[in-house]
């Protein structure tokens, strides 16, 4: 029953929202929370019911029914909701079959499109996904995004208000807007995964959960034919390549380990094989996306026997393509690093100077670290002060240790 509760929360919210409409999301979340609390009171004494989802669904639905019956105002304004609940109550009785599972998957899929409505900001989309589909508590979401609980609570209130006022449909998007809506969903899952994957101190468990949830929700898109486009497969491949390296990303103390220092024997070969399969499946058609390119880069890293023996030429080339698709200073810095590895520090420095505006990246430690590495290789005496600047800005102990090591190398030369 690993993660049963978190999963059940999302499944129940999805299926009830599908039945009652996204405008009633607050009611749905309340009754689902109630049903879980009820389970917490009953199950310890009687044991796990044969079909926990069906048990919880019946309980949540009865609770919604109670609330609607008792609340006069609701009855006047929304007589339809009572009817809805009564008409669907019978279905819950016989819900241990495969149709029920399909129904849940379908409801989750619709819920994903509701959460990723283009009228919501990316931040709101991610918070909503985590709260409603992944069953995270507000505090857990706040921890994952390194912010406070009131901030997340406000974000969620605004998001729910938007869904109600815009009367966002629970129907899957129609053909005309399908492609755009699907891209929004993919992008939200991409951001969710990255949020969990990016190296940061502490709270590792919650952040790993973000990666796992993003991957799980992406797989939930899989069986739905319209979602089976090359971009979806490429994103899945990217997740798999990143997950390949997850087991080696922490040291014994729980501190992140930088790529160059990771023990590659600990990498997950199963995820690597999964990634390769997905990547070759994603290569159909003539559509190339940033997910394809990023998956390609992640594949190069995951396939390399060591940091030194990485195919830096290929990586430099892929970053070059990424500069066209999704230009950003971070992408240009990474390309410069790959060029420096492949062709030498001088070439890397040329790229860095030509493509990265120093004023926009002055507070970004990786820019200074990359520059210092190149200067040091060229025996430029200014390397030391640039390393010092990187050291000041580097947020992670592992990064600072690595920088100090490189600085010592400088002084010994």
């Amino acid at each position: 029953m690993d993660h049963l509760f978190r999963q059940e929360y999302g499944r129940l919210v999805a299926i009830l929202t599908r039945q009652l409409g996204s405008a009633r999301l607050p009611l749905v979340e309340d009754v689902v929370q109630d049903a879980l609390l009820r389970a917490a009171q009953v199950w310890p004494y009687r044991g796990l019911p044969p079909n926990p989802t069906a048990w919880l669904l019946t309980t949540a639905r009865n609770r919604a029914h109670d609330i609607c019956r008792r609340n006069q105002r609701w009855q006047k304004s929304e007589p339809a909701i009572t009817q809805l609940l009564e008409s669907t109550a019978a279905q819950a009785m016989d819900s241990a079959d495969a149709t029920f599972e399909n129904e849940i998957r379908d409801a989750e899929l619709r819920m994903m499109f509701v959460c990723c409505h283009p009228g919501l900001s990316s931040d709101a989309q991610l918070a909503l996904i985590l709260k409603t589909l992944a069953g995270f508590g507000e505090q857990e979401i706040a921890t994952a995004f390194l912010t406070t609980r009131p901030t997340i609570a406000k974000r969620l209130v605004r998001a729910r208000k938007f869904l109600r006022e815009a009367d966002v449909s629970i129907d899957l998007p129609a053909d005309a807007e399908l492609e755009d809506r699907l891209h929004t969903v993919l992008h939200a899952l991409y951001l969710l995964f990255n949020e969990g994957f990016k190296a940061s101190t502490g709270e590792r468990i919650i952040r790993n959960e973000l990666c796992r949830e993003a991957d799980r929700l992406l797989s939930a898109l899989g069986p739905w034919a319209p979602a089976a486009i090359p971009q979806t497969l490429a994103l899945a491949a990217l997740f798999a390549f990143h997950r390949t390296r997850l087991p080696a990303r922490l040291d014994g103390e729980g501190d992140p380990v930088i790529l160059a220092d990771q023990d590659r024997r600990a990498w997950d070969q199963g995820q690597l094989r999964r990634g390769m399969k997905l990547l070759s499946a994603s290569a159909q058609g003539d559509q190339l996306s940033r997910y394809h390119i990023e998956a390609g880069i992640a594949a190069c890293h995951s396939l390399a026997p060591s940091f030194e023996k990485t195919d830096w030429n290929h990586i430099a080339q892929l970053y070059g393509q990424l500069e066209n698709f999704a230009p950003s200073p971070a992408v240009s810095i990474n390309r410069a690093i790959a060029i420096a590895r492949a062709e030498g520090a001088a070439a890397g420095l040329v790229h860095l100077n030509a493509h990265v505006d120093p004023t926009t990246v002055d507070s970004y430690h990786l820019y200074h670290a990359a520059r210092a590495d190149m200067l040091s290789e060229l025996n430029d005496p200014s390397a030391l002060s640039v390393y010092e600047r990187a050291l000041e800005l580097a947020p992670l102990a592992a990064e600072r240790r690595s920088l100090r090591r490189r600085m010592e190398g400088l002084e010994n030369d």
Binding site: M1, F5, R6, L36, L37, P44, Y45, F136, G137, E140
Partner: protein, 118 residues
């Protein structure tokens, strides 16, 4: 182990009525430990059964039951929320079992009452 030397005890579980809300993930952890606990007791023939109790209840008093009031817990800080019927070797054993209740760290209390036989 023969069960003939075991006697029956009621474990009465009480929870503080201002227990904080639990996030799904915490609930998860709580369940896992509860199920493990009752399963372990069941395997050695010590778990007989149990039930949760709702919070709504009435107390009936007076010669003809004329006084009906809301449950005994209106003024109480702790609410009786369920019971286990167990078999134990002795009061000491029953208390040891009660001491393994996973609700204790969350502020739950367990009252151990031997069932009178003779």
């Amino acid at each position: 182990m023969s069960e003939s030397h075991l006697s029956q005890y009621l474990l009465l579980f009480r929870e503080s009525d201002d227990a904080p809300d639990v996030a799904p993930e915490e609930m998860q952890a709580m369940f896992a430990t509860w199920f493990a606990w009752s399963e372990r007791l069941g395997k050695v023939g010590k778990y007989e059964g149990g039930n949760p109790l709702t919070e709504q209840g009435k107390v009936v008093r007076g010669e003809t039951g004329e006084s009906v009031t809301d449950g005994p817990f209106v003024e109480a800080k702790e609410v009786l929320c369920g019971y286990f019927l167990i078999n134990a070797e002795s009061m000491e054993d029953a208390c040891k079992i009660a001491g393994e209740c996973p609700g204790l760290p969350r502020g739950m209390s367990v009252e151990v009452r031997p069932i009178m036989v003779h």
